[in-house]
């Protein structure tokens, strides 16, 4: 009995061995690829680990930007205001140190890889006429596109968006 069984396995053994060998090679290859992938993912997630927290801090920076844009003339020269400006700049510098950079928008050609159109207004066709919210990159990757208003080709008339654009120009 014992011998019989051994013989049968020996006979069918070759294709089995071939299959096991093949599976083993595949498993090894899969594992090698998996290791490479994990290493890439790890490096990537280490580099971009701060993305979520930075995205949560950016609205605070936006609010500060807005606050300075609407700074009343009579407050502009107070030393208290200078202090707030320093805080604003410090927050920007802190983010820059983390690898955060601003995306250029105003006056640029609209580019959907870095800008998100939220409206259209009078102005040169395809040019950005207003930046509604600044966009940012982290280590070169867009983490938040700039929200922009794009010119629609009609001549810039004296419509209601005009004065706002001007003041934004001065602020930005």
């Amino acid at each position: 009995m014992e011998e019989d069984r051994q013989e049968t396995t020996a006979e069918s053994g070759a294709p089995d061995a071939q299959r096991y060998m093949d599976n083993w090679r595949r498993a090894e290859a899969d594992f090698e690829n998996f290791k490479k992938r994990v290493e890439l993912d790890r490096a990537e997630s280490a580099r971009f680990a701060s993305t979520a927290i930075i995205l949560n801090i950016l609205p605070v920076l936006d609010d500060l930007d807005r606050a300075f844009k609407s700074l009343p003339e009579k407050l502009a020269h107070l030393t208290w205001t200078d202090g707030m400006r320093l805080i604003h700049r410090k927050l920007q510098a802190t983010l820059e140190a983390q690898g955060v950079t601003e995306i250029k928008a105003l006056g640029e050609d609209f580019d959907p890889s870095i800008h998100e159109a939220v409206g259209q207004a009078a102005g040169e066709d395809g040019k950005i006429v207003e930046e509604a919210q600044r966009g940012y990159r982290l280590h070169g990757r867009v983490i938040r596109p700039a929200f922009v208003i794009v010119g629609n080709g009609s001549p810039p008339e004296k419509n209601e968006t005009e004065p706002r654009t001007r003041s934004d120009d001065a602020g930005g």
Partner: protein, 639 residues
């Protein structure tokens, strides 16, 4: 080798997943996002854009930006749903000679499968870049209610994109696979899928690994976007009450409110209330205006209650069509991002009278399930190699009867692990290696697998010899344990075959015991640790006194001897806290040795100053003793 992917081709978003190391994973887009908007456009410069880029330029180019193409797949132009969508979609939809729909983009006509193909192509390209391999085959999901022509259209889209569509599967089936339900024998599954723009409920009957759709229902225009709209409306109303300004008239402000509403909704899935704070949201003659509104979870639930209720009607319908009662449903699965809202979960639980399952990321379940199906079809899920795991922790007994683990439970085998141990007493000639199995922290409470003695250790102070203990489990579960004196090279080993292991019932019992005794065991372990610390400290103290006793003033010497005796007597008792107190006391007193020895040096520097060179052995001893004491102290203060 060419890869197979699973694709969730959705109405608003699409995802792609692939099997990696036996598990399905979502592949991010080239922009680093896990979702790809199902949007295609031809820009004014004639460039074709897909996904995020197409979505971002939509406002400037609405007539050439195609979204929600899934709503037109395989449908006739005269279909009532097409006629309904026609009015809501900003791009042009025309009728093809055969009665199908066509959409116009960049002045050219495209069939819906051609548009879908552009989305699929982008997913394919991104997947290839991520995997570093060619992607040729795909499993694509469709709603369970899709008819033959809609399925054919989806298949055509795959072919146009250069994909060999090996199977079209139903979205609820894919979700069930992601939840691992195919491993069950028989079940009746309800899949509740509330996404961004559509709601589907499907009842499936599963048997022997196959899924059969019993009934489907839903609402093609109900989803998370409606929830956001309700919250946005409420915020605008509240702001108008406070300031008299209607933010709906200011597109920029409205955009900010909408984003904040969506964020608040997400936050309220975990928090009871959230603050919506939008400074400088607008301005009037009196100056800038800020929005600062609190939204509580009950308030939000009140706002969206009607929408959630709207989903229950179709659930009732689906059960009725399947001829089933809620009690006959064995599993309820939640899919789609909007099911994260606690109110949705509660309503579903109430209707089906059972807790729905929500362990798989609801945005990703469909794509993950499609990848699993692909893996099964392509034989990537191999049956030959069944990897086993160790059911219980394996380790050895160390000083004071503590169980020290070497291989934690659920480690995939074959595996090996080694760790260096040492002696507990001066001139200890041998060590006993007691191999144990179990989850309890004390060796005595675990199962003994074997023991052996390694002798011939050369006389040395405690802690000096290095004994390397190595565990190795082979693929058949056979455990070999070896101990090697790294100094002399002497080695002993033991092999424990799987037969001396435990039955499944025993494993379960031991795991249960460990849980039941967790609190007691921790206490016991702490006691042992306190004793070990005390034992170690006495050893250190006596050593210091032996070596430098002559430099220590008599009164201090007496103090220390008294404190050593106090620690010893505390160790006789069971009071862990008392042991720790005496240990701390002794540690603090010991520090005085250093101070007094250094002060005896001529011209001794003030504390913290640099020791002059040539203080010799006298200065070195206590200095060396100190870090040890410091460690001990730190250890029990932490506890």
């Amino acid at each position: 080798m060419a890869r197979t992917v699973g694709i969730d081709l959705g109405t608003t978003f699409s995802l792609v997943a692939a099997m990696q190391g036996g598990d399905p994973v979502i592949i991010p887009t080239s922009e680093g996002e896990r979702l790809l908007p199902s949007v295609v456009a031809v820009s004014k410069t004639g460039e074709r854009l897909v996904g995020w880029l197409a979505k971002r330029q939509g406002v400037t180019n609405p007539e050439n930006t195609i979204y929600s193409i899934k709503r037109l797949m395989g449908r006739k132009f005269k279909d009532s749903t097409v006629q309904f969508d026609l009015k809501r979609l900003p791009y042009k939809i025309t009728e093809a000679p055969n009665g199908d729909c066509r959409v116009v983009m960049g002045g050219k006509e495209y069939s819906p499968p051609e548009i879908s193909a552009m989305i699929l192509q982008k997913l394919k390209t991104d997947a290839e870049a991520y995997l570093g391999e060619k992607v040729t085959d795909a499993v694509i999901t469709v709603p369970a209610y899709f008819n033959d022509s809609q399925r054919q259209a989806t298949k055509d889209a795959g072919a146009i994109a250069g994909l060999n569509v090996i199977r079209i599967i139903n979205e609820p089936t894919a979700s069930s696979l992601a939840y691992g339900l195919d491993k069950k024998k028989e079940a009746i599954v309800a899949v509740y899928d509330l996404g961004g723009g559509t709601f589907d409920i499907s009842v499936l009957e599963m048997g022997e690994g196959t899924f059969q759709v019993k009934s489907t229902s839903g609402d093609t225009h109900l989803g998370g976007d409606d929830f956001d709209q309700r919250i946005t409306d409420w915020l605008c109303d509240e702001f108008k009450k406070q300031s008299g300004i209607d933010l709906r008239q200011d597109r920029m402000a409205l955009q900010r409110v909408r984003d904040a509403a969506e964020k608040a909704k997400r936050e309220l899935s975990t928090l009871q209330q959230t603050e919506i704070s939008l400074p400088y949201i607008t301005a009037d003659a009196s100056g800038p205006k800020h929005m600062n509104i609190m939204l509580s979870r009950p308030k939000m639930e009140q706002l969206v209650m009607e929408l959630v209720d709207k989903s229950i009607g179709p659930c009732r319908q689906a059960l009725q069509d399947a001829g089933l009662t809620p009690a006959q449903i064995s599993e309820v699965l939640l899919v789609g991002g909007q099911t994260r809202t606690p109110l949705v979960q509660a309503k579903v639980a109430e209707f089906f009278a059972q807790e729905p399952k929500k362990t798989v990321n609801p945005d990703e379940a469909v794509a993950l399930g499609a990848a699993i199906q692909g893996g099964v079809l392509k034989g990537e899920v191999r049956e030959v190699l069944l990897l086993d795991v160790t059911p219980l922790t394996l380790g050895i007994e160390t000083l004071g009867g503590v169980a020290t683990s070497l291989i934690p439970r659920n480690t995939t085998i074959p595996t090996s692990k080694s760790q260096v141990f040492s002696t507990a007493a001066d001139s200890q000639p041998s060590v006993e290696v007691h191999v144990i199995q179990g989850e309890r922290p004390m060796a005595g409470d675990n199962k003994t697998l074997g023991r052996f003695v390694l002798d011939g250790i050369l006389p040395a102070p405690r802690g000096m010899p290095q004994i390397e203990v190595a565990f190795d489990i082979d693929a058949n579960g056979i455990l070999s344990v070896s101990a090697k004196d790294k100094g002399t090279g002497r080695e002993q080993k033991i092999t424990i075959t799987a037969s001396s292991g435990l039955s499944k019932d025993e494993v379960e019992k031991m795991t249960r015991d460990a849980e039941a005794h967790a609190a007691d065991d921790t206490k016991k372990k702490e006691e042992i640790e306190a004793r070990n610390t005390a034992d170690n400290l006495i050893y250190q103290a006596e050593k210091v006194m032996r070596e430098h006793g002559d430099k220590v003033p008599a009164d201090l010497k007496q103090q220390i001897e008294g404190k050593i005796a106090a620690v010893r007597s505390a160790m006789q008792g069971q009071d862990t806290a008392y042991i720790r107190r005496t240990v701390q006391d002794l540690t603090e007193t010991m520090q005085k040795i250093g101070a007094s020895v250094y002060q005896q040096q001529p011209g001794a520097p003030p504390p913290g100053g640099q020791a002059p060179p040539g203080t010799g052995a006298g200065g070195e001893g206590p200095g060396k003793g100190k870090p040890d004491e410091g460690t001990v102290e730190g250890e029990f203060r932490e506890v």
